[in-house]
Symmetry: C2
Subunit: 309 residues, 2 copies
């Protein structure tokens, strides 16, 4: 199985109440790829600048991520994001965004990345997402993430992109904003009417909900007493989710989708334990399976009948 | 088994995007009692005014609720709340609160309500909660709800009340505010250090989380496409939760607590389908069991190992 992901490959400056980093590896495609790498073969697609060096490539390659489609632009600067979180870690305050080499990015996928079984369009401008989708026609399964900025500034293009994919993975507020429907269950149904067969609503520390034609499923966030940096949690969720689905031949049957929700939840929870990619880069499959089993135990109950009065 | 609850017995005026009611039966003890009445014998304790008549008593008595401890004050007016919800149904905007007979309320429990197996102190001034707790010493299990107002204006008394009960059932924001700890898992542990053996964090449409010494459990809100009025959802949750626990001899074992979380979730979901008490007042135990089974199906997954790559 194989998985291609397009999205930002970046440097992040992040400050939270628990510490700060001035320049660390980040970006949606990076967090996604690291999480997915535990389940399948991943190829991130996207441009980086001259400032992106051996140290950064090594973090990816140590996890077996195939970096041939990361395009290093001579004289360019990598995408850069600076953000801050206060005590409410659900809210990121963006202080600076520098597109760098992403401003001129024209996706040109290699033959290998075009031939992937599964495609994920992480959060970038929706016209770019559509260009990548058009080059990757063979994918049996495709997913997409987006953000409020594109709903506000490029809605027509985003709706066209959504119509071409199988699985939408966004924050619940974005599903409401996209559809203009405040009720999440109705909003998810409105998205499915646009084309996708599955809609995942990411809900920060509250977890994530899955809507399909056949029903509803939800998991809480894994409870942690030490959350240091939520940056990339949503991308790690998507990477765990889509990576697991790809490893199961891309089947969107209900049982696989639910397990994939579990792996997404687990990867997101590891991601936030330390800054940036620090935790997931050194994670093991054994740790993932152990937490997956804990998550299962934390969400199971036995439906015995209540005693009649 | 038997359950005594003290809290507001009220009239509510509510406006939501889906309709409005000028004067309907409401109050924490009312919503709690109706929900709990499906599981056990319930006695609400509290004062009402002359405006509280046969029609209101009938709603309670049709559900088998024992109304002897509802004290009708001559010449008095019942507690009145006016509120409004916009499209974000998680946020209630209070427009008017009239304490009425609650301003002079001095709890005097009957012998029967003092002898209850289980006691629930719904959201009222914490000194009143403590007076009731002191009169109801035999209860094997006691729970308490509160709100931001009392954390801000009567914190010492509230902390003393919490130290005397087994189970705190409040909104997650209130657990954070009460403890000054932004991380929910740490905040819940801080509450358990004060005395309670179980802490339930109500999370609106996201569901509810349970913290005990032995672990963590969480359920999503039951997904509904038609939510008309969230007033009383938290009280209905508490009523379903505590009512079920009481029916199980007040055992706080993990399996019972988890099923109780399920029944709380189910009762809250029915409550919001129509205004005020309209839906729960006509609910059947069969409908409850059917939705409980659906909730179980919506939250179960099978932890098969992922395929190795």
């Amino acid at each position: 199985m194989s998985l291609t992901v397009v999205g930002s490959i970046a440097f992040d400056a992040v400050k939270t109440p628990f510490g700060e980093r001035e320049r660390m590896l980040g970006g949606a495609a990076v967090h996604f790829s690291l999480a997915a790498s535990f389940f399948t073969e991943v190829r991130p697609v996207g441009p980086v600048g001259e400032d992106f060096g051996a140290e950064q490539f090594e973090v990816l390659e140590r996890r077996g991520i195939l970096t041939d489609d990361i395009e290093r632009v001579d004289g360019g600067k990598s995408f850069f994001w600076r953000g801050r979180y206060d005590y409410d870690l659900n809210v990121a305050h963006t202080e600076d965004t520098q597109l760098g080499v992403f401003a001129e990015f024209e996706p040109k996928l290699s033959e290998q990345s075009r031939g992937a079984d599964t495609l994920f369009l992480a959060n970038i401008q929706p016209d770019l997402q559509r260009q990548v989708r058009a080059q990757c026609r063979q994918a049996r399964l495709s997913g997409l993430d987006s953000m409020n900025l594109w709903i506000e500034t490029a809605k027509e293009s985003l709706l066209a992109a959504i119509a071409e994919i199988d699985c939408l993975v966004v924050n619940d507020a974005e599903i409401r904003q996209l559809t203009g429907e405040p009720n999440l269950a109705r909003a998810a149904r409105a998205v499915m009417d646009m084309g996708p067969r599955a809609v995942i609503a990411k809900q920060g520390e509250y977890g994530a909900a899955l809507f399909t034609e056949s029903g509803f499923f939800a998991l809480p966030g894994f409870p942690l007493e030490d959350v240091r940096d939520p940056t990339g949690a949503g991308d790690s969720f998507a990477g765990g989710f889509v990576g697991y689905i790809d490893s199961q031949d891309g089947d969107l049957d209900e049982a696989s989708l639910r397990r994939a929700m579990g792996y997404g939840t687990v990867l997101a929870s590891f991601n936030v334990e330390r800054f940036g990619t620090e935790r997931v880069a050194e994670l093991t499959r054994e740790e993932i399976e152990e937490r997956f089993a804990q998550l299962h135990a934390m969400t199971s109950f036995e439906p015995l009948p209540a005693r009649a009065e």
